[in-house]
Symmetry: C2
Subunit: 389 residues, 2 copies
Amino acid sequence: MYQETDHGFPATEFQARVARAQELMAKHCMDGLLLTSMDNIRYFVGVDSTFWESYTRPWFVLVPAAGDPIAIIPEIGRAIIEQTWMKEIRSWPSPRPEDEGTSLVVSAISDLPRRHGRVGAELGMELRLGIPVSQLNAIIGELIGVEIVDGALLIWLLRMIKSPAEVKKIKRAIDIAGAVYDEVPEFVRIGDSERKILREFRARLNAGGAGAVPTLICRSDVGGPFEITGGPRERPIADGDLLFIDTGTTFDGYFCDYDRNFQVGSATDALLFAHERVWDANEVGIKAAKPGVTAGYVFEQMAKALSSGVVDLNSNGRMGHGLGLRVTEPPSVRLEDQTVLEPGMVMCIEPALEYEPGKIVLHEETVVITEDGAQLLTPRAPKQLPPIR
Amino acid sequence: MYQETDHGFPATEFQARVARAQELMAKHCMDGLLLTSMDNIRYFVGVDSTFWESYTRPWFVLVPAAGDPIAIIPEIGRAIIEQTWMKEIRSWPSPRPEDEGTSLVVSAISDLPRRHGRVGAELGMELRLGIPVSQLNAIIGELIGVEIVDGALLIWLLRMIKSPAEVKKIKRAIDIAGAVYDEVPEFVRIGDSERKILREFRARLNAGGAGAVPTLICRSDVGGPFEITGGPRERPIADGDLLFIDTGTTFDGYFCDYDRNFQVGSATDALLFAHERVWDANEVGIKAAKPGVTAGYVFEQMAKALSSGVVDLNSNGRMGHGLGLRVTEPPSVRLEDQTVLEPGMVMCIEPALEYEPGKIVLHEETVVITEDGAQLLTPRAPKQLPPIR
């Protein structure tokens, strides 16, 4: 039963994250980690706000190599930060374009005990800076004797391993979406438009206790969608369509990310065959995702299950990815990715096949890696396509 | 009556935006404009996708100083870009971390007719880069004879002036939210939690035809909220509270942004007095927002209406801002902002008063600037606080 009170984490959760970050900082020779993006700040501070949508007032968190993190935030946000576990809070009256926190950040970094003269920031892989580039350059320009280096590897080494409490949040998001997927054959009818289906799906997610629903894709075409990234169309679903729905729904900031396919009216043998093949490949991927193997190995096993070769099998370029406070996180399940799977990683396993030109079948499930192998977090999709009439 | 078909723009709308961008590029001595962020790409291309939520595959649009824009996008997005007005589309198989579009972008920029040797990018004010900083640096490093300069001023000069078609989208978002605000006294009851109210509000926005609802804030406290940025709490609203709801709801990508206040049970005279004062200040701000005056002038007039001085009147640091594809856009309605208001600007006018420590009253309305002055787009908030019982 849905309880509205299951939000937030105890302070010990954040303290453990900081401790792990500090271990990694020692290894990566960094005196601190400067964070500006919504998901990284939420990871350390736990603050839940939709105020981030405005780009006027940047937020910063500086995690030192030892000791408590420092929040450097606009005055307007001070009252909510004071209600988190953070003790060290500095703020400025914002907007103040001529110094939108820059001098406070420079002075906080300059005051860090200097061992390596290096501070990590969100420069690289699968990260987005939460401040203007020109402000980052101004900070870099004002620092004396401290280099800003790429903190991406450190950040992802940290965030890739989920705590049990994080896995629970992801599971909640999955269950909320799962209940709605189950209802699709009841509330979707031949003739409904993609847009109508999407709107009803979103209503049910909201009623089921979802937070934001940043990603919700509904595509349908004869025998399968020709693409799976766009917004909904007015196109009514019709006999012979494969209806594809995929959602990145959140609970308390954490994402689920999985799809389901539905057969509208009658299916061709080619579709049924492709569907079973992709479902089987998903099974292979789930079994392959054990601690100690690489993400590339998981890709390879699914590729073999889908075809005799491994080339050009997937126009998406990968068959899965990490999941957490973002709908996709490292690693990528692609042949070249050498990330070794470890217990605590939450992975989407996502084989796809364009079985005829412009007809895609994609199956996505989510697992948490445990000592004993992959443990399914999603309710496994049925092997038989659920029908819509 | 809500029609699901009012999405998108005709190609002429995008062509006019490109033409205006190119006029500005000539003035600002740029050979092109490189765009990577969701809202800027949507502004020129019109693509609607929630796929952007994943940070794995960056998207680029290059608007040259003359001629058609060029989309440089991952293969997975090609099919939806092909359905837009874009003719020049280049793509690469993504993910490919070692060259995630970088070489295509460098070659497209290098091929631009070179007049100034300068290309604008999203470096500055109120912009966020849609790719990792390290990728921007790689692009800059590979370019020979072309400098990447800050395109923020150009982008905002362009986007600040809304076309009539854009104003219509904003108005639709406003009307969707307005219908729900009207229903608040019907569906909210003393004892409801902020979280419950927020969820019901969101359900009604969705049913009313809203797109994404990136910002929705519901705060309540005795005599007024002590802060207006945080997520909802379990706290039940009680007699004596001022209930504050503020939403950045979208229609077809365009935002509304306005709040409403509701009196829960009985109000103190101090609150009623403050409320009327802020309402009056809003009236002053709306009347002041005429073409030819600065954003700072509008602030000053409201500040005078709220107090005898202009200092420290507003802990938010401003009393309004632009609105469009982002919930807040330049200019800021703050004393120091010298942006001159022009017809076509859509402005949120937002005076606030902390009339007692920790008790905030804020009124926000939205206007479009016309030759004849400000024209209200929001239904004006009632001067009397609507009651909740």
